[in-house]
Symmetry: C3
Subunit: 316 residues, 3 copies
């Protein structure tokens, strides 16, 4: 028994050689807290670090403006040198496996790699085989931990704590990689998480969290609107765009039902007048562009976490 | 009256929070002069500035080698960190508005944004809503102020003054974003501006400036050849390529008509043996590659102007 | 006679204004040796140089992950500023000549240019007309000197000398730009070079070097496997993929025939289970990922050679 206790203790100090950030589920609450605290620091002050002799490689197999540029901005502010791998003009066309591509990036001298890939849990075939930290920049419809963390940062900046906050995730919950990661993480952090949107879209576990949009607007501290991922199909299956907006979107009328101090979030890009009324995108409650700003700070903190740059522990 | 005088004076010191460079028309002659003077400085010496903690974002919605690389070289020589937004692999595909894209770039921490977009006056919907300086890298068939400024710099280096210079803008005047900006700016600076090319292409105000090519070659101090924008259509409507060259291009024969000291310019890329004879592209009179070199210097001066880097007045 | 001797001596000190690295054939053995010695230095230690005010431009007209990123990593480690020219979104679409594009890059201030182009010996039309050093990053099916040099470095690290080494180049020798450069260079360095693969593919001079795969495996110090360039056509013409692997690939069985101390190389990307068995890609004999690591070191040495950065002789 004593031995087991000791092993546990030792387990805490014996960090793995390489720490990855792949899913919210794998992140201990302590790590989440540490990342958010550092990110808050980075968000407040115009932090820029000295140039380091460290390469960050961005491997994006799917188009993405904000995630990629957000990582790039974070890397440059940390003083890292950036290598951008463009999947369109690459060996991937020549049929190379993902493993070989990532191993190549490692061989070229990358010290950390950010990957976005359309395959769910693409990282499972890589974990344990790559000797540099991997950060998941989004996989299939599954995980997007840095997006979740920036959402958490935005909420924490507003309410300091997550305990007993009423958070409504509204819209295309089925297709959203952000939604699932967020729901789970928020619950672990003590929030009450609800979902809203077309009832037809709520399956399994989601059904028990369902509330109608008007009710949602009234009780939410945070309205997390989701982007309609496959707009035409998704929306047409339920209703026309205008009807969808009236039934399930955040309309001007619904915003008026919201409590004082409650906020609106959206991962962007926004479909104006579908998920959210045009007038609300930059309204007083909206934190949409603040989320993007926070994204850079959170990614700095995540990179710093895996590379241990500011701890002084990182040496090339 | 006194009050008005005072207000005028005050007007001079109260600069707008954000200064944009969008069109030549909007640029006061004083600003043009200041930019050209600084650019001339940057062009002479191999100026490189210390790294600054400042982000320049390049948003190019249209392909462009020289303009984009020219801005990038200018940004790096000024010590700025560069964020390149690639429109092909971006959220624009997901139907995001231009405003939301630019606002995102601002939220990610860009301190200045260079935009090239196919829509005429795309910037009208942005002006006043974006809190960082915008530089127009070309819009539709309309404006391209940094190209105009580099043309002006090239002429100024040659003749010191613009007053009473005979400048001929020749070729596809209708489709050229450069032509219109240049004609107006050169006239404000005191030059006599003429146009040449197929008469059928000269509409409205242009007709009064028209002169035939041989006459143009004889009297010009500066022959500004334009690129045929929509080569096949444009040229086929008038004549075959060879016939076009003989009738409206700068042939070897026409170059011999030119005055001593007069120069040839072209914004490039050149269609050799269409607008200009192959042998003339790098002839003694040609300033074509010098224009490209000047482009970097002018863009440094423009970025410096909006960011006020070398004034010491810029702080993040 | 004396005069000729003198001229020869003088020839040694009168370096050309611009030195290019275009083909292995043009590289004197002394230069190869110098580059490999420097590269070995760069490969051993995590060399990073101070930022310099020097632009390296990468012009890639063909997709390539590893070559482009490898050059980019090398440039950044040398402290160069990188300008990436993307052929897809460029003026090349507008019909500009290669010469005009390269001249533009030079005019924009590039101090060295790396070019990859699909045309065999594209550089012949450029040589002597460009005033900055050119490095060939691969042309058509012809030359790829930095790939050859990284192969040489990998062999030199293993065996110190090339003299009397048995080196087998196996696979699609006809289509491989690497193969031809390597065969010639290795022979000049004193190695015995053989080829293997489908006999039908061995033409002309290659026939005299041919040995069957089993024999090759037994006697080789180095098995240089080639990538099947036009997989479907090439393989189907000879056999199915599985049959090709069994007949001409490096199978697990053949690896067991290899001598102690002999190594396996491949330029990558690998077609697993075509040219080489999946299990062998990272086996003890394999130097495949080491080759990629060496690629960065070799490219640093090549850039250093043409720019004379570390000699102290380079001034902007």
């Amino acid at each position: 028994m004593l031995e087991t206790e000791l092993q546990k203790e030792m387990g805490k100090v014996t960090e793995p050689a390489t720490e990855n950030i792949l899913t919210m589920t794998d992140l201990p609450l302590g790590t989440i807290d540490k990342i958010l605290t550092n990110a808050q620091e980075f968000a407040h002050t115009p932090y820029w670090f000295e140039k380091k002799n460290v390469f960050a490689a961005n491997l994006f197999f799917e188009p993405s403006t904000r995630t990629k540029l957000s990582f790039e901005a974070a890397e440059k502010k940390l003083g890292l040198e950036v290598l951008n791998f463009e999947a369109d003009t690459s060996s991937v066309k020549k049929g190379e496996t993902l493993y070989d591509t990532v191993k190549t990036i490692e061989s070229l001298g990358a010290d950390v790699v950010v990957i976005r890939h359309e395959t769910d849990r693409y990282f499972d075939e890589l974990a344990g085989k790559i000797n540099i930290p991997m950060i998941n920049g989004g996989d299939g419809c599954g995980h997007h931990p840095t997006q979740s963390l920036l959402d958490l940062l935005t909420i924490k900046q507003e309410f300091q704590s997550f305990i007993d906050l009423n958070i409504v995730v509204a819209g295309d919950v089925r297709h959203s990689r952000v939604a699932r990661s967020n729901i789970e993480a928020l619950e672990r952090l003590g929030a009450n998480v609800f979902v809203s949107g077309p009832e037809e879209w709520m399956e399994g576990e989601l059904r028990s969290r369902y509330i109608p949009m008007d009710e949602a607007a009234e009780m939410a501290d945070v309205m997390m609107m989701l982007r309609i991922q496959h707009e035409r199909h998704a929306v047409q299956m339920v209703a026309g765009v205008e009807e969808f907006h009236q039934k399930y979107g955040l309309t001007v009328k619904r915003e008026r039902l919201m409590k004082p101090g409650s906020i609106i979030m959206h991962p962007a890009p926004v479909n104006r007048n579908v998920e959210i009324a045009d007038e609300l995108v930059e309204c007083k409650r909206s934190r949409i562009f603040k989320q993007m700003k926070n994204g850079v700070a959170v990614r700095m903190a995540v990179l710093d976490h895996v590379l241990q740059l500011t701890k002084g522990g990182y040496k090339k």
